[in-house]
Every structure is written in structure tokens, then in C-alpha cells.
């Protein structure tokens, strides 16, 4: 560890020595103190599902080969993995439910802070969900869409698949998944089912448990899909916007409010309210008023919809506080390190939690409810302004690093750009270029940082490698954060790193779409809940070609994965038919059955499969090989 670089992010490299000098601890310090980590856990062969345990299996065959109940390594690994998947599904679908319920309240007129910002999209969704919206009042459509979405959380008939799963995949895929018995009918029920079947003494056949995991992953997909689409309805569908990323976006002379977490429901309102309270901030002495910056996926949400700059991604969230310039860090759900409150104690920074079910000791809790969102947002901004007055400017260290980033490539925005090239058939230029090889394939980067690898390095290394090979790249979540901070979401990056034919295509589309140059090297598709945006594009391409997703030269990669949500996303990517790379050794290697299923057998069953490779250069090779294999399969 100590020999490995902690990060390639210059802002983090600037701040870490200062933190050390000041005796401030970060995730990297805690990671080092944690070494070595338990080998049994690493291999996934410890079971803590019942209180006869913990049981652990000796991977070398000398000690116990079965837990007290008799579960072997395969059962234990499969159960642990499936539980991780549904924990991810639960996190995403709670987010989705929250958005759907808000849309329902908007439809019923109970949530004054919210509007329907994209009526057309709402009507398109209603169409997709077979709700015949023509001629209906928009509020009525909102209600019907919300109820149809909520039905995906409540349907009791197993034979009817979730609306949002069935209507967003190719028919062939739906059929294949249904035959395997992994098509979800009800997100909540599937999560419950998997928790139940992995309870002590239940499903013990590793492969069957894994099929349960696949179903859980597809429930995750469903929750994510509706979450993104309904957020677009409420807050607007992202369009390309030029902004900036990295800690240099903090301003010395402004009240800096960092919005952190995942859910746009509150952060959007904070942005609205903050705009109106600029004067109060100035009165408090902040010459530049209020400066909102984003962290993690709340950051991605407001970045792509409002052009609010992104301060940093997951692993360096603590460094935002260490700059001494953040007056309030407002957090909602997911990927918030509990460490931030003890760090904040050393500064004037106020950490504000906003969700009843997500509190952190030491934080100020200002609870947020949809019906009174304005009030909560106002209170939060006031707390931030008040904290600003107590800021100790001697402790302020804003690293002078930021990069331009072009964000906001929703599926709709990509189609819009393509339609500037061919209005009648927008997908044609993309497909033509894939067929003629100008674009070799598409890679989607998703999720997370992990201190087990040098922060952002895997993302950047793989992307540069694939760019050379003319692969079109999309990114979400903290992966998108990595590219944004390190300058790969710029037109200059396209000039510098794209292979000739990719450069030509990105330039042609970029120029036609009014970018005055090429599209950025990596297209920012949103937060980690937004991975389904990429699926939308892929399914459109597949439908247009008349093939299923598992035939397309499309791959996915989570090279620095960490969260249970990432496990869920990776698994549904495999279920949808994509070769999916992970750059962190997953906690499954203690079972040959599970490892083989996910990396090999899944290929026959689903077309998709996992590629585990910790070396980014080799990973890029393998991803490109998978793309070439697919091209060969299509005869192109």
C-alpha cells in the first residue's frame, strides 16, 4: 500500500500532505491501518447469516469445509453475493420510490416545490408504459405514470414482469430472462425473496442462489430506470453543459455549499433557494454570494442538469472539508463517509443530514419532506451562511486545480446531437460508423473509487487505451467524476487521445450539433443511478439492428468498484448481455462454482459475463478483445 500511489488527482495530492501535517485522518490512512484485511472475507467464505456462526471455510482444505449448518464455500459465497446485490437494489429502488412518490404528489398537487419540467418526456414515458396519454391533462398523466411505476413495487402476480423492466429491454431479452425465471415482478418482493431464500436453512444450491441474485440485479435495474426517467420529468432531461470539476471550484469569497449523496429531490430545491438567497450571503461578507458544488452522485445530478461544478468524487470527499472552505456539506443518502463529521469538527464546516433514515453522529439534522422542501432548503442555506461567518480563513487551502468538463449527455441529448447529422434516422450515423469500424464499439464506465487502487487511475488508463482503439466511451457516477476531474470530458481530450476514426466521428457529430469542435472524449451520462441511460441507447441500437444486446460490441467496466450498488449494476449488465469488467477482485473467489458461473457459464446463459482484471492496461486489452469478438460475431 505505502508503495502504491494513493491517487492521480492533483488536488488530492496537494491536500494529503497538508492533512497529514495537521494530523487529519482520511480514508487512505484508515485503509492502511486496516491492513492486512481478513483473507476469509476477501474470499467471501465467512458466513455470518446465523448466530451459530461466524463460520468460515478453510480455502486450503485442511480445516472445516462446511459451516455448522453444513453450507459449503459455494453456498456461502453465493449467498453473500446475492445479499450484496439486493442491498444495492434496495438502495437504488428506495431512491426510485421516493422520486415516484414525489411525482404522484405533484400529480395530486401536494408538492409545491416541484413541477413537471419535461412534459414531453412524461408523455413519452406514459406511451412506453402503455398508458395512452393522448389528450389527458398532464397532472393526470403524472399520476398515472407514478402509479404504474409504484405498481412495480406492489404487484403480487409473479407471472407479470415489472413495467419498467419489460418495456425497456428488447423483447428477446425479456423472453430469455423470463425463461430463466429471473424477470422481476415487484422490486420490493424480489428483495424480500432473496433475503428470505438466503436465510439459514433455505436455498443452498449455489447456482440457484445466483439466479436469485440475477433477479435481484434486475430488480435493481428496474428501480434505477424509473428513478432516472422520473427525475428527468421532475427536474428536466439533461442537455450538454460546460462546467468545471475538481476542488478548485470552491471559492474563497463565497459561501460554499457542497451537496453530497445521491438524491436530487433536495439538492435541486437547495439550488433554487440558494439563488434567491445570494444577497443574504453577500450581506454576511461573501463577495461572490453562494457557490454550490457537488460531490459524488448528487454532484453528478446537479452538474448535468444545472452545470453546477463537481468538487470531487467518492474517495476524496473528506478532502473537500480539509480545504477549510466548505461552509456546509449537505448530505442525503449513500456513499457518505461517516468520517466527515469528525473531520468537520476541526473546521467551521457544518455537516447537515437531511433524511430521517440517514443520520450521522455529529451532524446537524435538518429533516427534509417533499411537502415542505422550500423550508428545509432555506434553513440549510441559512445554516451555511451562518457557518461562513465563523470560517477561519487561515485554515483555507483551496487547491488551484480544476478542469473543464462537458456534462449532461442523456440518451435524449445524444439522440439530439445525432439527429443534427441525420434528422430522419438519428441512429443511422452511429450505427453506420460502428458497422464501418470508425467506431469499434462502446464502453460504459461506471461507479466508485476504491482505496485498493490508485484513485481514478484505472479509469483514466483504460479510457486512454480504448480511445486509441476508437472505442466510444460513456461514463456515470464517480467514474464520470474521475474523468471530469482529470480532463477527459473535454474536446481537447478528444484531440489528444482519440484514434483517428473516432476523432473524425466525434468531430463530425460535435460540429453538426453546434459544439464548435468534437464531442468530449468521454460522454457524461449522469450519476450511478443513471446507468440505464446507456442501456437506452444500446437497446435503441440493438432494436435498430434487429439483434439482442448480447450481440452488440458494447462493454461495461467498473474498474474501481466498491459499493453494493456497483455489484448490482455489474450483475444486471451481465444479465443484459454485456461483457463487464471489474478492476477489483470481488469477494467471491473462495468458490470455484460461483467464480466459474459469473466469468464463464453466464456467457452461455445470458451472453454477458464478468471479466476480473486488476491491471488497467490488461483490462483495456480484454475489453477491446471482447469488442472485437462481438464485431466478428456480427460479421463486421
Amino acid at each position: 500500500m505505502s508503495k502504491m500511489n494513493k491517487t492521480i488527482d492533483p488536488a488530492v495530492n496537494y491536500l494529503l500532505p497538508l492533512a497529514k501535517k495537521a494530523g487529519l485522518e482520511t480514508a487512505w490512512d484508515r485503509y492502511e491501518a486496516m491492513q492486512p484485511q481478513c483473507g476469509f472475507g476477501e474470499l467471501g467464505i465467512c458466513c455470518r447469516i446465523c448466530w451459530k456462526g461466524p463460520c468460515r471455510i478453510d480455502p486450503f482444505g485442511n480445516g472445516p469445509q462446511r459451516g455448522v449448518c453444513g453450507a459449503d464455500a459455494h453456498t456461502i459465497v453465493a449467498r453473500n453475493l446475492s445479499r450484496m446485490i439486493v442491498a444495492g437494489a434496495a438502495a437504488h429502488s428506495e431512491h426510485g420510490r421516493h422520486v415516484a412518490l414525489t411525482l404522484l404528489e405533484v400529480g395530486e398537487g401536494h408538492a409545491p416545490a416541484y413541477q413537471i419540467k419535461d412534459e414531453q418526456k412524461l408523455r413519452d414515458i406514459a406511451e412506453k408504459l402503455n398508458l395512452s396519454p393522448a389528450g389527458k391533462d398532464i397532472k393526470q398523466v403524472a399520476k398515472e405514470v407514478a402509479l404504474a411505476s409504484l405498481e412495480d413495487f406492489s404487484r403480487q402476480k409473479h407471472s407479470i414482469p415489472c413495467n419498467w423492466a419489460k418495456e425497456t429491454m428488447s423483447a428477446e431479452r425479456v423472453d430469455k430472462l423470463a425463461k430463466l425465471g429471473v424477470m422481476p415482478h415487484n422490486i420490493d418482493a424480489v428483495i424480500t425473496e432473496i433475503m428470505g431464500r438466503t436465510h439459514v436453512g433455505c436455498d443452498a444450491d449455489a447456482v440457484n442462489v445466483l439466479l436469485g441474485g440475477l433477479k435481484g440485479a434486475l430488480a435493481d435495474y428496474t428501480g434505477m430506470y424509473l428513478s432516472t426517467e422520473l427525475s428527468d420529468v421532475l427536474f428536466g432531461t439533461p442537455e450538454p453543459v460546460v462546467t468545471a470539476a475538481n476542488l478548485g471550484v470552491l471559492k474563497k469569497d463565497a459561501v460554499n455549499i457542497a451537496v453530497h449523496g445521491h438524491n436530487p429531490l433536495l439538492s435541486e430545491i437547495i439550488c433554487d433557494v440558494a439563488l434567491k438567497m445570494n444577497e443574504e450571503a453577500k450581506k454576511a461578507g461573501a463577495k461572490e454570494g453562494i457557490n454550490i458544488v457537488g460531490i459524488c452522485c448528487t454532484g453528478n445530478e446537479v452538474m448535468m442538469r444545472r452545470g453546477i461544478p463537481l468538487a470531487t468524487n467518492y474517495l476524496s470527499q473528506e478532502l473537500a472539508i480539509i480545504t477549510g472552505a466548505v461552509d456546509a456539506m449537505v448530505v442525503d443518502v449513500q456513499c457518505i463517509m461517516p468520517a466527515i463529521t469528525s473531520l468537520a469538527e476541526c473546521f467551521h464546516t457544518q455537516v447537515i443530514t437531511t433524511m430521517r433514515e440517514n443520520k450521522i453522529t455529529g451532524a446537524t439534522h435538518i429533516e427534509f419532506h417533499e411537502d415542505s422542501a422550500f423550508d428545509s432548503a432555506k434553513k440549510i442555506v441559512e445554516v451555511a451562511i451562518d457557518a461562513f461567518k465563523r470560517r477561519d480563513n487561515r485554515k483555507v487551502n483551496i487547491p488551484d486545480y480544476k478542469q473543464t468538463a462537458i456534462a449532461g449527455f442523456s440518451a435524449e441529448a445524444i439522440m439530439a446531437a445525432l439527429s443534427k447529422v441525420n434528422a430522419k434516422d438519428p441512429l443511422k450515423p452511429l450505427i453506420d460508423n460502428i458497422v464501418n469500424g470508425n467506431i469499434q464499439g462502446i464502453a460504459l464506465f461506471a461507479g466508485c473509487n476504491n482505496p485498493q487502487v490508485t484513485q481514478d487511475n484505472n479509469f483514466i488508463t483504460i479510457a486512454k487505451e480504448l480511445a486509441k482503439n476508437n472505442v466510444l466511451m460513456l461514463a456515470t457516477g464517480c467514474g464520470a467524476g474521475a474523468f471530469a476531474k482529470n480532463g477527459l470530458m473535454t474536446q481537447e481530450a478528444t484531440e489528444a487521445y482519440a484514434g483517428d476514426s473516432l476523432k473524425a466521428v466525434l468531430t463530425a457529430i460535435g460540429k453538426a450539433a453546434g459544439f464548435n469542435g468534437p464531442l468530449p472524449l468521454v460522454l457524461h451520462m449522469g450519476s450511478c443511478v443513471d446507468n440505464t441511460r446507456a442501456v437506452k441507447v444500446a437497446v435503441a441500437v440493438a432494436d435498430n439492428l434487429g439483434v439482442d444486446l448480447d450481440k452488440l460490441p458494447v462493454v461495461a467496466s467498473a474498474p474501481e468498484a466498491m459499493a453494493e450498488k456497483a455489484v448490482a449494476i455489474g450483475t444486471w449488465a451481465v444479465a443484459l448481455g454485456l461483457p463487464t469488467h471489474i478492476g477489483i477482485v470481488p469477494q467471491i473467489m473462495g468458490s470455484s462454482v460461483v467464480a466459474e458461473f459469473l466469468t464463464e457459464k453466464a456467457k452461455d446463459l445470458l451472453g454477458g459475463y464478468f471479466i476480473v482484471e486488476t491491471d488497467p492496461e490488461k483490462a483495456a486489452d480484454q475489453l477491446f478483445t471482447a469488442i472485437k469478438e462481438r464485431r466478428k460475431g456480427l460479421g463486421i
Partner: protein, 187 residues
């Protein structure tokens, strides 16, 4: 006369040991020349030289005590086990698996195990003696003894003890106690 330093040894504190067996894993890996994931995926047989044992409500790892007058070294008919530079070393290549060392070790610290990965053409069973060698094979150019198990223990229940400094500390502590007792009686 050349002064010979007494042997280092591994000291375990049963009050701190949680029985996670991380030390066993680390030892096995240290002696296998590959990482955990590879070993497991390739199905390699790994052999820890230590063993975490449970005695009543205490748990602790047992490994070679590096005896000064090592019974195993005295008994070994082939000289596979021998004393050198403050280590009780083992040359597994010379071991014929006769198990005499196992019988004479007062701590049960030696195990005789078969190496299923060894494909050489033996006429007999392939078992060899395995014992803690204080990770002698890992000693780098800087001459630092760095034991894999000690590094791996999450609760720092085990440590490598240099007998002489250990004894010095012990004497200092006892000395302090005596001094304190003395000053108290004076008052």
C-alpha cells in the same frame, strides 16, 4: 570467544487473539510464493506453519518456539532441521518425512503434510515436515526478520521477540517495581 545471540521467537498474547486465523493464511501464503486469490483459484494446496488452537476459553496461535537446544534438530536423522544464525531452520528438500521431529517437539509445532502440487516421481509418499522458520525465506537484503503472521495479525496478538531485549525490558520492569517498593517503605 564469539558471542552467539539467543534465538528470536514468536510470542502470542491469548488475551488479544480473536482466532480469525489470519496469521495462518498469511503464513501459508508467505510459504507459497503466490497471492491468496491465485492460490485459491488454482486450487493450490497451501500449508500454514502455525496453528490457531482453542484451549478452554482462550485462543492462540502455536508455532515453533525456536528452542535453543532444539529437540527436533537433535533428533532429525537427515539433518533437515538444524540451528543456524539464531534460527531453527528447515531444509524441506532433505526431509524424508520420518516424523521424528513431530514426536519430539514439546509443542506439537511440526506437522508432516503431503504436497499434492509436487509432481516429482517419488516411489513413496511425498510428505515433508513443515515448521515455522520465522519466515527466513522472506528475509531481504536489509537483514530484517519480517514474519508474515506478525504483520497479518489484525489485533497485534503476536509479535516477534528478540530474546535479549525482551529480557532486558522484563528486568527493567521488575527493577522499577523493586525501586517503588523500596521508596514506599522509606516514606
Amino acid at each position: 570467544m564469539v558471542r552467539v545471540k539467543e534465538n528470536f521467537f514468536i510470542y502470542a498474547d491469548p488475551r488479544k487473539c480473536l482466532g480469525c486465523k489470519n496469521c495462518e493464511l498469511a503464513c501459508a501464503i508467505a510459504h507459497a510464493d503466490c497471492d491468496l486469490q491465485t492460490a485459491v483459484t488454482k486450487g493450490l494446496q497451501l500449508q500454514p506453519r502455525n496453528l490457531v488452537v482453542q484451549v478452554d476459553d482462550m485462543v492462540m496461535p502455536i508455532q515453533c518456539r525456536q528452542c535453543e537446544d532444539a529437540p527436533c534438530a537433535l533428533a532429525c536423522p537427515t539433518g533437515a532441521i538444524y540451528q543456524e544464525d539464531g534460527f531453527v531452520k528447515i531444509n524441506e528438500g532433505n526431509c524424508i518425512g520420518c516424523k521424528v521431529c513431530t514426536m519430539v517437539c514439546p509443542f506439537g509445532a511440526i506437522s508432516i503434510t503431503k504436497d499434492i502440487n509436487d509432481n516429482s516421481n517419488y516411489r513413496t509418499k511425498k510428505a515433508k515436515a513443515r515448521k515455522c522458520d520465522l519466515c527466513f525465506s522472506r528475509i531481504q537484503d536489509n537483514n530484517e526478520v519480517s514474519c508474515a503472521c506478525v504483520e497479518a495479525c489484525p489485533t497485534k496478538a503476536i509479535m516477534l521477540v528478540d530474546y535479549e531485549s525482551y529480557r532486558k525490558k522484563l528486568i527493567e520492569e521488575r527493577g522499577k517495581e523493586l525501586v517503588r517498593a523500596h521508596t514506599k517503605t522509606k516514606v
